[in-house]
């Protein structure tokens, strides 16, 4: 059984809103991304994992515990960053953090202080007086300082500036090295690509694809783009029989797909041609997803 297992989860709010038959398996130590556009059902799925709402059908189990029935028990292992952040009580950020660490029964104030410094957070401010970014930072500190085995985060980078986002991504990498299991939703594909091991794509409440990021990051089939100086050379290259994805005859350009094992062969062949340039075309997750969405539509 997987560390976190979502089975046939269905919650129908009517009028096509809700999630339908969502099934995911998240392994221990994995960083799992959950992407989709706004309203796709990311938050609804996460609320089920936290036991805040009850499924119409299916179930979520975390560490073998039912997330709905044993909701309080599950929280021993889980830290959470909500999609919309507001802190209870009328206290300062520091007081809230201390209280939360105490209530969670794990984590340390020292770690929280490290994180506060790293994120340049003024935690002495009242939680109600905080800006969106400050709240987000406080939420991140809360989640990471409480040292839980599982981190469930609903769009944790919203409200962070690019610099802070990088720091946050580094922090997540640290957590991953410690063996933490991380589940995060996002609509920013770049950050997902940077850190996630696997990514589930949700659209209109249904999982349409689960992508293993290794296949994108370490894809041995690469695409190269080249431009020839003469039309003669251009035509001669085409006749060599490499797998050509696309040609642009007016610019004398060719897009070649080739496996890493054959790269030397290609370079040898190209020696005899007069080239303007030669470069690898990188495939990004974003391009990939865009393709997936296009196909689906």
């Amino acid at each position: 059984m997987a560390y976190i297992e979502i089975e046939h989860l269905t919650k129908d709010y009517g009028k096509g809103r809700g999630i339908y038959d969502v099934s995911l398996e998240i392994e221990k130590g994995e960083v799992y991304g959950f992407v989709g556009i706004n309203g796709a059902g990311k938050t609804t799925t996460i609320r089920h994992m936290m036991g805040f709402i009850k499924p119409d059908e299916g179930n979520v189990s975390i560490k073998g515990l039912d997330a709905t029935k044993s909701s309080a028990e599950v929280k021993r292992y889980v830290s959470y960053i909500p999609g919309e952040i507001n802190f209870p009580g009328n206290t300062t950020g520091e007081e809230f953090l201390k209280e939360h660490i105490y209530l969670s029964g794990r984590g340390s104030w020292e770690r929280a202080q490290e994180l506060i410094e790293l994120l340049q957070l003024d935690a002495t401010a009242n939680v109600h007086a905080m800006s969106k970014g400050m709240k987000q930072k406080t939420a991140i500190v809360t989640a990471l300082a409480s040292d839980a085995d599982i981190l469930i985060m609903d769009e944790p980078t919203t409200g962070l500036d690019p610099l802070m986002r990088d720091i946050f991504i580094d922090l997540l990498k640290e957590e991953k090295e410690k063996g933490k299991t991380i589940f995060m939703s996002s609509h920013i594909f770049q950050e997902v690509e940077e850190i996630c091991d696997r990514v589930a794509v949700i659209q209109q409440g249904r999982i349409i694809e689960v992508v293993d990021m290794k296949n994108i990051r370490y894809n041995k089939n690469k695409e190269y783009r080249m431009e020839f100086k003469s039309e003669e050379a251009f035509k001669q290259f085409i006749s060599l029989g490499y797998q050509i994805n696309r040609v642009k005859p007016e610019d004398l350009q060719v897009f070649v797909q080739i496996h890493d094992e054959q790269i030397n062969e290609l370079i040898q062949s190209l020696k005899s041609f007069d080239l303007v340039y030669f470069k690898e075309i990188k495939v990004h997750f974003e391009d990939y997803i865009t393709e997936v969405f296009k196909e689906d539509v």
Binding site: E73, P88, L103
Partner: protein
């Protein structure tokens, strides 16, 4: 199941409003009690007796009765303000803002979250109204000393100064005033009486108190005897002061009761026993007389028109009663020593009014002044005119004046009495009413996920109840409105008049219990948008 951190958090978030409302309500109640004008209300009520207003005013003739508006309106609206905002703050506000997500992302069960929050609301309301009640009790005690002892009235204060005694000490030993002529004079002036009337009043008061204390002791003794007797109703066991006044012989059977009575009089038990025996004999004589055939009770009266009298009474009595006067008016030139007519219950009030008006005319002051200080009646000039207009002799008029002074003083005393039991039921009823209101707000707060909706329903319903009550109080008539508000279940009239009010309070408690329980179940099962 109770979560201490949640309780702490609830207190931190809500103590300010709690404190403000508690202070405001305590201050208002204390203010009502301290500023209660016993003499004023007593005289208004006496003036309105027999008119349509007497029913409305009757509740004002006692200190607790005058607090009805506090219990029905002021304390209720303050309570509503507290419970609506707090209930909202405790649950729906945290759901709507999403801050509950943090509480629920720790290993605290939802059920203990909601239980703790319900208990916070229930306990804070209970504590609030306990403090308010104690403040009222304290104010009354400080102002009138009427909670733990006998009220300290103006005469006691004056006498205490003269005798150089503690007011409270003296209020329990009124016989000390009787023993000192100077103190008697000062005390009488303080109560707008002359010494003669005051002596009667004081004697009457001491006698009543001794019977009251004796009756309490006899009741206690009877409780011990009949406690397990199923045939005896509670009311059969209890001996009231009135019952004892009718049958003083009961006193002779209990040494403790005799001792209590004797202590009030400041005499020995044996002397007191003799006093009681004397009263028993007197009662028997009266009974004997009453059994005699009554034939010549009313002496012959020769009604003669008196112009002056007619004019004067017309000024004050423009109703049908003046016709009665017409019939019973007496010859003008009566000899002072022989009464031409007798004072009976039917004409006493009217005669008194005539006497007051005559005195006012004789002394050239207005009737109100005379009513405020009835000693004016005893002024020789006033007496002369009064005897002329009423046909009563001076002794009768003086007796009447004394009687009027004593009874008005007694009604002021009664107005200042503080019945702890009634106060307890008023306070408990108010608490239950507010708890029922709070359960409505709390239920709305757990039912809805949006603050606005929860506030509209959870605040709107209690506020509607309050408005209906207010309209009802203003119109002072029942036109079905009383069935539309739960405040009817808290029947202050019934509590003040020792009527039947228990089931209403039980119903209020039941409403609170059901709605709080429902809230707890609902919250543990519902979907939370966090």
């Amino acid at each position: 199941m109770l979560s201490k951190p949640i309780l702490k958090q609830s207190i931190q978030a809500n103590w300010k409003l709690w404190l403000i409302i508690t202070i405001v309500a305590s201050t208002i109640l204390s203010g009502f009690i301290i500023s209660y004008d016993a003499a004023g209300f007593a005289s208004i009520a006496a003036a309105a007796e027999g008119t349509a207003f007497s029913n409305i005013l009757s509740s004002l003739t006692s200190l607790l009765g005058s607090l009805e508006n506090f219990y029905k309106l002021i304390a209720v609206i303050l309570g509503i303000v507290y419970v609506v905002f707090t209930a909202n703050n405790l649950v729906v506000n945290e759901v709507d803002s999403g801050s509950l997500a943090y509480t629920l992302s720790t290993p605290i069960k939802r059920s203990s979250v909601i239980l703790t929050k319900s208990l916070y609301l229930i306990l804070s309301v209970t504590l609030m109204y306990l403090i308010i009640s104690l403040a009222g009790l304290g104010a009354s005690q400080l102002q009138y000393n009427n909670v733990t002892g006998y009220p300290i009235t103006d005469d006691v204060k004056a006498a205490a100064e003269t005798l150089n005694q503690e007011e409270r000490y003296l209020s329990e030993r009124l016989y000390l005033i009787q023993e000192d002529e100077h103190a008697m004079r000062e005390a009488a002036v303080a109560r707008d009486m002359d010494t003669e009337a005051y002596a009667i009043y004081l004697e009457d008061l001491i006698r009543n108190r001794s019977y009251k204390e004796a009756a309490e002791i006899i009741t206690d003794e009877r409780w011990d005897i009949y406690e397990d007797d199923d045939d005896m109703e509670d009311s059969d066991i209890e001996i009231t002061t009135e019952e004892l006044l009718e049958q003083p012989e009961m006193l002779l059977t209990s040494n403790d009761a005799l001792a209590a009575g004797a202590r009030i009089h400041g005499i020995s038990i044996n002397d007191y026993r003799e006093l009681v025996v004397g009263e028993i004999d007197a009662l028997e004589v009266v009974e004997f007389e009453n059994t005699e055939p009554v034939e010549e009770e009313t002496p012959e009266i020769e009604p003669v028109e008196t112009e002056e009298n007619q004019e004067e009474t017309d000024e004050t009595n423009e109703n049908e009663e003046s016709e009665e006067v017409e019939e019973t008016v007496v010859v003008q030139d009566t000899v002072a020593s022989t009464p031409q007519r007798e004072v009976s219950e039917d004409n006493a009030e009217l005669l008194l009014q005539t006497v007051i008006d005559s005195s006012a005319t004789a002394l050239d002051i207005n009737s109100e002044q005379v009513r405020d200080n009835l000693t004016f009646i005893k002024d020789p000039t006033a007496l002369a005119l009064s005897t002329q207009t009423t046909g009563l002799n001076t002794d009768q008029i003086i007796m009447m004046a004394n009687h009027a002074m004593v009874s008005s003083a007694r009604s002021v005393d009664r107005a200042l009495e503080f019945d702890v039991e009634t106060y307890f039921w008023l306070s408990l009823g108010l608490l239950l009413l507010i708890l029922a209101m709070s359960s409505i707000s709390f239920f709305a707060s757990t039912l809805f996920n949006r603050t606005g909706l929860a506030l509209a329903v959870g605040g709107g319903i209690p506020f509607a109840f309050f408005l209906i009550t207010m309209i009802q109080q203003l119109m002072d008539s029942a036109n079905g409105l009383e069935y539309m508000t739960i405040t009817t279940l808290f029947d202050t009239d019934a509590i003040l008049s020792s009527g039947e009010f228990g089931w209403g309070l039980v119903a209020l408690g039941a409403i609170a219990f059901v709605l709080y329980t429902a809230s707890n179940i609902l919250f543990t099962k519902k979907d939370l948008p966090l």
